[in-house]
Subunit: 190 residues, 2 copies
DNA sequence: TTGAACATGTAAACGGTTACATGATTTA
DNA sequence: TAAATCATGTAACCGTTTACATGTTCAA
């Protein structure tokens, strides 16, 4: 089965409700979908161009204050394509996790190195979880319940919280396990 | 920062303990690391060639019964490179999850379609979790505790179980949430 | 005897990222 | 006035996947 470009759907989805500029799509995704979906700068602008050539979006130049923006609007054809994709079963992601690979090969190095990797990941996960709760309080909680997107955005955010919680618990267990087995140095808390 | 080929480390890691053929690496990874790391057929053979040209592995043709195999053995230089990578902090994976993207855009389609997506994922997650417990019982449990890799393989497997458990709970919660809110059709259990 | 598993590869296309490039406007 | 943010793009590279290609051996 031929692999197809999924970026287009993310972009069409971001345009579904209202017209946006490329920059707006980019920054919006950064603060909303980045945990499970990100687009690099260099993928959004060319894709918008392609979508316009295909008639899936239209563009017009606008001025917001003194700033020039190229605003893109989704067409009916674009909506049709987006909705057709939405109806398709979600393909399971192929996921590469370097930490788990290093853990899998842990016997080939010292336990201390693996513990170090796990501790670093623990720090990162705790930080990311904290950032997510900030989004929850500062952004999501401000949206009125009548907003049609709110429920779905909440569910996606809950997925993140649950993911980090489970990950953090597993990391703590794993670190303890290694330290008990190999007499981990408690001084090495960096 | 330039993105570098990580496949090489996975392959060097698989060769660290004992010589293997390309096919053996492939099938071995399929049953051990595939949840968090996979290599396609077309990446292993060329990479082995590259590694050999770099002096990281050596090869010789062997016969196992009547079957010809090209067995690859890691060199000291190869081990050095692998260990240097192991000591590097694990880079955080960029992860694309199509289900979460569709959920995020759920307000643009009918709740029923989103529920369908979540139900499908629930089935898949339950199936994958079951497969993992089979690996745990049939494969991991058979390995003697003295085997240096066992502890690490167990931790990686536990990560999978915890991941699926959390995911399954979240899916059930989310499905219930949507059904309560939108009066989900209970007949639609496919 | 037929299909599954073993076994090894190549070529081309594709998607995505990195690095490069530029410039305006707002805020500290 | 300097830095951060807004704003839009291109070119080249690289890693990965898909499709193609071939042949053997073992078990049902």
């Amino acid at each position: 089965m031929k692999k197809i470009n999924k970026s287009r759907y993310a972009i069409l989805g971001m345009l579904f409700d209202k017209p946006r500029s490329g920059y707006s799509i980019k920054s919006n995704m950064l603060e909303s979908t980045s945990r499970f979906w990100q687009e690099s700068d260099a993928s959004i602008y060319p894709m918008l161009k392609t979508l316009e050539a295909e008639g899936k979006v239209t563009s017009k130049n606008e001025f917001v204050g003194k700033r020039a923006k190229k605003m893109f609007e989704i067409t009916q054809t674009g909506k049709d394509e987006f909705l057709a994709w939405m109806a398709l079963p979600a393909e399971s992601e192929t996921h590469r996790d370097e930490l788990l690979l290093k853990l899998f090969f842990g016997a080939n190095t010292t336990p201390d190195e693996t513990i170090k990797q796990l501790r670093l990941k623990l720090q990162q996960s705790q930080k990311k979880r904290a950032q997510l709760t900030i989004v929850q309080i500062d952004t999501l909680a401000q949206i009125p319940d009548t907003h049609t997107h709110k429920l779905f955005w909440e569910m996606a955010l809950k997925n993140g919280l649950m993911h980090y919680d489970a990950q953090i618990n597993w990391l703590i267990d794993s670190i303890n396990c290694l330290e008990n087995k190999f007499g981990g140095k408690n001084g090495n808390k960096n």
